[in-house]
Structures are given as structure tokens and as C-alpha cells.
């Protein structure tokens, strides 16, 4: 803490002495050449071992990436951790970083890491192929988008027809026929749960309200917890749908097809008129790595249309890289084409999510 303060104070002093009064520079003071984003030098990979932190290594992703990278001449070592754990780890290690690259975390998590000063601005070679609005919205860009995922409200379509199904999250607790028929979370530790609450709460933004949310908004949260059936530890939502315990609940788009098959259920998703929240997995360069050039080369390779396309093909995901979309599975692409993205103010969400989670855990969960 004290070190950080000294750093900040030092940087401020330097800025003042040099007579530079530009106020909009933002809080990224410690790099000497602030403002210039790093880019990879040309040339082949050196083969130094890169340490890569990710929350997206499950179901064979980590192994697949390690192998593909090795074929391209990169030696990587994947360290897997949940989204929150990976975020905390990156922040905790900022004084003496161990990782060189981090990927898989969504905007919300990387925004925290960026605010703590643990990642560094850079520009990948594929920056022109992605929609910049899906990545870092700040003036200096410290993370870039790779894969997108929709966070959906899914329901058992054998029990509810499209007309009978809820039209939005808020129907679940305002209409009696859905009460006690949907699964509600018992903890807010996961990214999926946090995104669902971001999607609901940001609709009720009110500067005068508690934590930036109107009373009406908090009433929705109260309704959500009062009327849902609590999730059961280590029992998948799909298993509970299959056994008839519940009929609907939150789910990320990528898991639906596989679990429908495993649990022999049919699930459709709700498309609210405001749209659905997207979780967009990003990639970032860890500040202070001593293998910066190699790390940048790796990011250039990993985010390229070729590799992102192969990844999408392999893991049913939806790439952000426009040139990679052609290689993704057509049904996935179709689904995302019909989908309306909810417009969410991520900097507002990032600034408040911690307090929202705290308030919900303390006051509304039961």
C-alpha cells in the first residue's frame, strides 16, 4: 500500500515538474512512456516460457492451447483459477508479477485489474479485426476482446411454450406462475451471477439511490431472492430441471447444447426487450513482465483470426474477431446474430459491483 502511494506520489511529482497539465491522462502513471501502447516486435517467437493466467482452461481448453502454441513455437505454462481468484492473484502479485499474460477474464474483472495497475496498455496486431467497443473502453487500452458469451435466462421448453415463458427476468417474481419455479443463486461469487445482477440493476440507475440504484431496483432484487428456489451445491441447474425441482434459471450460452444432451432436457432462452448481457473474455499483458516481447507475440498469435477460429470450432464459442467468425459453428453464429446485446455501462458496474454484492449478500439473500 505504502509502496503504491510512493509510486503515485512520485509520478504526480514528475508530472507537475515537467509542467504537463493534461488532466485527462487517467490513472496510469507509473510507466515512463505513458500513453504509448506496446506492440510486438517482428520476428519469430524466442521460445521462452510464458506464464499464462486464465479462468478459461477447463474442458480441455488449457491443453489444447498449450499444444497449439507449442506448434507455433511458443512455450506456455497455463495457471488456471476462477475469475475472482485470477483477478485477486493478478492484483496481489503486482509488485513482483509472476504471470506474463492473462486471458479469459471479462471486462468487469479486467477493469479491476487495470484500476490496480497490474496490466499494461498494448495494441495487438489484430486490433482492427475486433469491435473496440467490446474491449477496454478507456482512452488507453489494456485489454482486448477474444470470445463472447451470452448470459441467459433459460427455461424448460417441454413445460413452457414460447408464449407462456417469461419475457424477462423481472417476470419471474412479478408473475405468480413463475414464483418458486426458478432457481436463484445462493452466492454471488461467480461471474455469471454478477452479470445477471448487473443486467437487472443497471436498468434502475439512479444517482440519488443507494449505491447508484433506485429503491425500485432494490425491490427487484428482494423479489428475486424471496420467490426463487435456492440453488443446491454441486447439483447442476440442468439436473434440477431434469428432475422437475425447478424449471428455469441463469446459464451461459456456451453450456446449453452439451447439457441438454447429458440431462435429456430441452431448454430455450428468454430474449428480453432490453437485450441480454454479454460476458466478453479478454486478453491482457501483465505489467512488469520481463518477457514482454514474447508475451506480445503470443497475444498477436492467440488473438489472430486463425487461432480464434480454430478455438471457436473446437469449443463452440463465438469469437469477437470478425475474421474468425467464418470458422465458428454456424448455429452459434446464427444464435448471436439474432441476439440483442444489452447496453451496459461497465465502468458504472465495475465501480459498484463490490458494494452491490456486499449489500445483496448482507440484506437480500436468505
Amino acid at each position: 500500500m505504502r509502496r503504491l502511494k510512493t509510486l503515485v506520489a512520485g509520478a504526480v511529482a514528475v508530472a507537475l515538474l515537467s509542467g504537463c497539465g493534461a488532466g485527462a491522462a487517467g490513472p496510469t502513471p507509473s510507466e515512463p512512456a505513458a500513453g504509448t501502447a506496446a506492440t510486438a516486435p517482428s520476428g519469430p517467437p524466442s521460445g521462452e516460457t510464458l506464464i499464462v493466467y486464465t479462468n478459461s482452461n477447463g474442458e480441455g481448453r488449457g491443453e489444447w492451447l498449450t499444444q497449439k502454441a507449442a506448434e507455433a513455437g511458443f512455450k506456455i505454462e497455463i495457471v488456471g483459477a476462477g475469475g475472482a481468484d485470477a483477478t485477486n492473484k493478478l492484483i496481489a502479485e503486482k509488485n513482483n508479477p509472476i504471470a506474463d499474460v492473462a486471458f479469459g477474464l471479462n471486462n468487469m474483472y479486467f477493469e479491476q485489474v487495470k484500476a490496480a495497475g497490474a496490466i499494461e496498455p498494448f495494441t495487438p496486431s489484430w486490433s482492427g479485426e475486433v469491435d473496440a467497443a467490446k474491449g477496454d473502453k478507456g482512452a488507453t487500452k489494456a485489454y482486448w476482446p477474444l470470445v463472447q458469451q451470452a448470459i441467459l435466462l433459460g427455461y424448460n421448453s417441454d413445460k413452457f411454450s414460447k408464449d407462456q415463458a417469461p419475457k424477462d427476468w423481472t417476470d419471474l417474481w412479478t408473475q405468480d406462475r413463475f414464483k418458486s419455479r426458478y432457481e436463484r443463486v445462493t452466492g454471488l461469487g461467480t461471474a455469471t451471477a454478477q452479470l445477471v445482477f448487473a443486467s437487472i440493476l443497471t436498468r434502475y440507475k439512479d444517482d440519488a439511490g443507494d449505491l447508484g440504484i433506485s429503491d425500485e431496483g432494490w425491490k427487484q432484487i428482494e423479489g428475486y431472492f424471496k420467490n426463487g428456489t435456492p440453488a443446491v451445491a454441486k447439483t447442476d441447474l440442468f439436473a434440477r430441471i431434469a428432475s422437475g425441482d425447478t424449471d428455469m434459471g441463469q446459464m451461459p450460452s456456451s453450456i446449453i447444447a452439451e447439457r441438454e444432451k447429458s440431462f435429456k432436457v430441452n431448454v430455450e432462452s428468454v430474449m428480453p426487450s432490453v437485450g441480454v448481457p454479454l460476458a466478453i473474455e479478454q486478453v491482457a499483458l501483465v505489467k512488469g513482465t520481463d518477457k514482454k516481447d514474447e508475451a506480445l507475440k503470443f497475444i498477436d498469435w492467440f488473438g489472430s483470426a486463425d487461432i480464434q477460429g480454430a478455438w471457436a470450432q473446437q469449443f463452440n464459442s463465438m469469437p469477437v474477431n470478425k475474421a474468425a467468425v467464418a470458422k465458428a459453428k454456424p448455429e452459434v453464429v446464427d444464435f448471436f446474430n439474432t441476439l440483442k446485446q444489452q447496453d451496459i455501462d461497465w465502468s458504472f458496474v465495475q465501480a459498484n459491483m463490490g458494494s452491490w454484492v456486499e449489500k445483496i449478500e448482507l440484506e437480500y439473500m436468505s
Binding site: 495457471v79 479491476q112 456486499e358
Partner: protein, 604 residues
């Protein structure tokens, strides 16, 4: 400043006269300062004084939250209830297997020993397969009483029952061991004077077990306070505990002060409990005073009704203990959907789960890394604390009391915060460790593993030293034996069985650690816990749940083998030595073929 007296106590001054004590004192002071006080002080200061000034925000938020207060109350309720129920069940199964003549006591022992090898979420799931709303026993009961509630097994009662049966491990190991030290001649004398089975038990046997019972009671209390998976699986809406909230908050930088405050509240309660138990323990004599003591012989229960009743209860308990394990092993061969819906068809059992887990590219490497780390940490913790525990038990003054309480610091904070403290303190060169940077090295995880195991190790070692007859030591000293010689040749053989048990338990409990490793593991040497997490997380697909079961069974095998190796040897050698040497009766459960696995840390 010398306090304490008699043959057991000695003042600070006499303590400092021994060079061995001085050296140990210096090393211990450094270790405590560098790895217990400094990192945790750092993390606490950072959470409670975020901007250099104290923030009372956390207390205000917590005390105005109904849910937090209710969960906290539940945790305390569970802790108190568990301290009683575990003792009742634990003492019963120890007596049934070691003290009374019961038919088939070896089989019973193996059944009760199943808690050694598994725990956590899978154990709770195992009980749910049997007593849950779709469980086997529930189905049977429903056919008898069609009107009953299929969800009967939930809430406080279910959590207490499961946790009681799951945490008798310490009784089976340490209370059973202490029971072997009871002098049979005293029992015989009492019986000749007409004492009943019950009187002998109450007036002679149980009092001798007190130090160990106090120690395991503290552990049960702690287990109850830190309850996590059983309430999550079986607590339902009505009975949720505080640990899940602590874990959520310690993962969120903006709420970490709440997590720390909650953890400190639980920690202070544990220390209070410890103080009460230490007080109760003081002043008693917990070893045989007869000149020629003899080994315990099993007692026949003379009242036939009582005898039959004890047999029935013993075998009922046996069924309760073993059914979940059997089902877990069976379900580990089923697919994830079958596990989660609880529907099993005989044809669906395959080896697929095992093939998938064992043929991962990472292969056996994480197993080896975890075994090496756990073994090193277990041996260092026990080896290092053997002498310390002896000193703390022998010299009772304000210095040793202070040291003892400081050594319990790891019980106060959850392991995630302990890990953060180590990172905060040693991510830059620090004079405390000779100017080295510890983050990113392989040593830092080992340090964390050792520190986390200190309180448990110390408690159990101290309890076992307390039951050593001090006249043995005095006799040796009078004959001119040096301190180290006495320690090595007389004390060590007597406490070795307990030390071996502690080492094995420590080893087992660290094999699948995640909370510490996630922050401290070297990227090139990732232990098993991280791999398990990656393969079992809810978000990782249907296979996740079946992988959890496979890893549980694999860990059962490892811990089973370890315990067999450790116990097989430790059980034989000291028994032999004890006969020729110290004249004690510490031959430990020679039939212990099953293994030990428990989690006395904050999160079971």
C-alpha cells in the same frame, strides 16, 4: 515471574539456562515473527486501515445484517452442539472398538475409520444419496409411512448429524491412543473393590483421557465454526452458516474487511475456547502413578441388556458410517447426470470417469507434486513442533503461554487471507528472510502449508506429552542423562505413535488444498488442488461432478496407503521399544489398516 510449580512447571530463568532451549527459542521467535505475526498483521492492517485510518464500516454493516447475524449464530450453535455430539459418538466408538469386548470389533473399527479418508462436499453428497429426498433410506421410510416429508433430512439436525459422524476421526486416533495408556491395574483394583463397569469408566478411564478429550473438543468446536459444505448441501434455507459468506467476501477486495472481521470473531471464539480448555486441563495428573503399570485388557459388559444394546448401537453406527463411502465409490463409476439426479442404473457404471481423469496430459505430475509438498510440510510441522510442544508443556510461564497463543494465529484467519498476507509481506526483499523475495518461488507454498498446520499439530502433541509419566524423565535425569538424550530415548518413543498419526493427518489434509495453493503455488509446480478445481468446478461441464467423485476415491486410496505405511511402522516399532525400554503401554492400534483423513482447518 516464575509461575506454575511442582514437577511440571518451571520458571523463565531456569528455562533459559539450557542452551537447547535458547536455540529453539530464537528460531521459534524468528519463525513466529516472520511467518505468523508479520504477514497477518500486514493483511489485517490493510483491510482495517485502508487509508491509514481505522474504518468501523465492517462492524456497522455486519451487525445490521440479519442474514450475517443469523448465519453467525448458526455457526456458533453448530460449534457448541458439535463439541458435545462428537464427544458422545467419538467416545462411544472408541470404547466399543478398544475398551469393551464387542463381537467383530475389528470390522467395526474399519467402518468407523472411513471418516479418516474422506470429507468435505463429497461426504455431504454421500449422506444425501442415502437420506436426501430421493435417498435410499428415505424411499424405504416413505413406503412405511407414506405421509412423511421426503425432505426430512435437512436443516440443523441433518447438518449436525452428518458433521458428527464425519468428524470423529480425532477421537479414533488420539483418544484411542490415550486409552492405551490407562493403567489396567487401577481398573482391576477398582473392580475388586466392587466398582461397576460404569463407575470404572466414569471415575478412572475418562479422567485419564481428559487432556486428549480437551484437545479434540477444541477441534470439534473449530470444525463446527468453520462448517462449509454440510450446511451448503443439507442446511436448506433455515440453516446456513457464516463460512460461505466469509469466502465470498474475502474474494472481493472491497468487502475484505467484512471477511477479516468475521474471521477474527470466529478466531477469538476459538482462542477463548482454547483458554477454557487449558484452564480445565491445568493441575491434573494424566498418567499412571502405579509403579508397575500394565496394559489394558478389554472389558466384558456384565449387564446382558446393556451388552445387547451396545452391540445394536455399535452396528447401527457401523452402517451409518460405511453406507456413504460405498455409495460414493459406486457413483464414481456413474456419469455426471446420474450422480446429480441420484438415479443409478446398473448398466451405466463404466470406467470412463477414471480413464478421463487419469489420461489427462498433466497425468500423475500434480499427484506427485502434492505428495511431495504435503509430506515435506507434514514432517517439518511435526518435527519442528515436537520439541516446542514439549517445552510448552514442561515450562509453564508467561513466555511460553505467549508463544503458545501466538502459534495459534493460523486458526484465526481463513487460508486465503493467510496467503494474501504472505504475498503482501514477501513480494519484495525483506530483511526478515535475509533479503529474499519469496513470491514466485517454490518455498512460499511450503511455508504456508507448514504454518497452517501448526495449531493442530501443537494441540495434539501437547496433549500427548501431557500423558507421559514425568517420573520416567526424572529417573533418567537423576542417572545423568542429558536433556536431548532424555528427549530422544524416553519421551520421543512414547509420543511417536501420536506424532505419526498427526503427521499422517496433516499430510492427508493438504493433498487437495486449493485455498492456499491458488495464491502461492509456483506456476511450474502446480499441486493437485488446482487441477481438481479446474476439473470439478460447476461451470466446467457435466463431467465436473463425476470428476469430483473420482478424485475423492483416488485421494481415499492415497490416504489409505499412507496411513497404512505410517501406522504399520509406527505401530510396531514403539510397541517393541516400549516393552524393553520405557515400560509404557503405547502400542498403537495394530489393526489399523484403514487410513486417516480429516480436515481440522477452518473449512472442513
Amino acid at each position: 515471574m516464575s509461575s506454575g510449580g511442582g514437577s511440571n512447571g518451571a520458571g523463565t530463568r531456569s528455562m533459559l539456562r539450557s542452551p537447547a532451549v535458547l536455540i529453539i527459542g530464537i528460531v521459534l521467535t524468528w519463525f513466529i515473527a516472520a511467518f505468523l505475526v508479520w504477514p497477518n498483521a500486514n493483511v489485517l492492517i490493510q483491510t482495517f486501515f485502508p487509508n491509514g485510518s481505522f474504518s468501523g464500516r465492517a462492524a456497522e454493516k455486519l451487525f445490521s445484517s440479519q442474514r450475517a447475524m443469523k448465519s453467525l449464530g448458526n455457526s456458533f450453535l453448530l460449534a457448541v452442539a458439535l463439541s458435545i455430539t462428537v464427544n458422545v459418538v467419538g467416545i462411544f466408538i472408541v470404547l466399543v472398538t478398544q475398551y469393551f469386548k464387542i463381537r467383530g470389533s475389528r470390522i467395526l473399527f474399519l467402518g468407523y475409520a472411513t471418516t479418516f479418508i474422506y470429507g468435505g462436499i463429497v461426504l455431504a453428497a454421500g449422506y444425501k444419496f442415502i437420506y436426501g429426498d430421493k435417498g435410499i433410506v428415505t424411499g424405504f421410510l416413505l413406503s412405511l409411512f407414506p405421509g412423511m416429508d421426503p425432505g426430512w433430512f435437512s436443516g440443523f439436525f441433518a447438518v449436525l448429524a452428518v458433521m458428527t459422524f464425519a468428524t470423529t476421526t480425532n477421537h479414533m486416533l488420539f483418544v484411542a491412543n490415550a486409552l492405551k495408556g490407562v493403567d489396567y491395574q487401577t481398573i482391576e483394583a477398582a473392580r475388586n473393590m466392587g466398582a461397576s463397569t460404569w463407575t470404572v469408566l466414569r471415575r478412572i478411564v475418562l479422567p485419564m483421557l481428559k487432556p486428549t478429550l480437551f484437545a479434540v473438543t477444541v477441534l470439534s468446536f473449530l470444525t463446527g465454526l468453520g462448517a462449509l459444505s454440510a450446511p451448503q448441501v443439507l442446511g436448506g434455507r433455515e440453516f446456513q452458516t457464516i463460512t460461505p459468506m466469509i469466502l465470498t467476501f474475502s474474494n472481493s477486495p472491497t468487502s475484505r474487511d467484512l471477511a477479516a472481521l468475521l474471521a477474527v470473531i470466529l478466531g477469538v471464539a476459538t482462542i477463548l475456547m482454547l483458554a477454557v480448555m487449558t484452564r480445565l486441563e491445568k493441575g491434573g495428573t494424566y498418567f499412571s502413578v502405579s509403579k508397575v503399570s500394565s496394559g489394558l485388557q478389554k472389558q466384558q459388559i456384565r449387564n446382558p441388556v446393556a451388552n445387547a444394546a451396545v452391540h445394536v448401537v455399535a452396528y447401527l453406527l457401523f452402517a451409518v458410517y460405511t453406507l456413504p463411502v460405498v455409495l460414493i465409490v459406486v457413483f464414481s463409476f456413474a456419469d455426471g447426470a446420474a450422480i446429480q439426479t441420484g438415479q443409478l442404473s446398473p448398466g451405466s457404471l463404466t470406467l470412463d470417469n477414471y480413464v478421463r481423469v487419469l489420461t489427462q496430459p498433466s497425468g500423475l505430475r500434480p499427484f506427485v507434486i502434492s505428495i511431495v509438498y504435503s509430506a515435506l510440510a507434514a514432517v517439518i510441522a511435526v518435527g519442528g513442533l515436537l520439541f516446542v510442544a514439549r517445552l510448552l508443556q514442561k515450562y509453564r510461564n508467561w513466555v511460553t503461554t505467549a508463544f503458545e497463543y501466538l502459534l495459534h494465529i493460523p486458526w484465526i484467519l481463513p487460508s486465503a487471507l493467510l496467503a494474501l498476507g504472505l504475498i503482501l509481506s514477501y513480494d519484495h526483499p525483506s530483511p526478515l528472510v535475509g533479503g529474499a523475495v519469496l513470491t514466485g518461488t517454490t518455498v512460499i507454498l511450503l511455508i504456508a502449508f507448514v504454518t497452517v498446520k501448526i495449531p493442530f499439530t501443537l494441540r495434539m502433541l501437547k496433549a500427548s506429552f501431557a500423558s507421559v509419566n514425568s517420573s520416567l524423565e526424572e529417573a533418567a535425569t537423576i542417572m545423568g542423562a542429558k536433556t536431548l538424550y532424555v528427549f530422544r530415548r524416553i519421551l520421543l518413543p512414547i509420543v511417536l505413535p501420536a506424532a505419526a498419526a498427526i503427521t499422517a493427518l496433516n499430510f492427508n489434509s493438504m493433498l487437495d488444498d486449493y485455498d492456499t495453493a491458488i495464491f502461492l503455488a509456483h506456476p511450474l509446480f502446480q499441486p493437485l488442488g488446482l487441477v481438481i478445481k479446474a476439473n470439478t468446478d460447476g461451470a466446467e461441464g457435466v463431467d465436473g461432478v463425476s470428476n469430483t467423485f473420482v478424485y475423492t476415491v483416488l485421494l481415499m486410496v492415497i490416504t489409505g496407503v499412507t496411513m497404512y505405511l505410517v501406522y504399520g511402522r509406527a505401530g510396531k516399532k514403539p510397541a517393541r521399544r516400549a516393552k524393553t525400554g520405557a515400560g509404557g503401554k503405547q502400542g498403537l492400534t495394530p489393526v489399523l489398516a484403514e487410513a486417516a483423513r480429516t480436515d481440522p482447518a477452518l473449512v472442513p
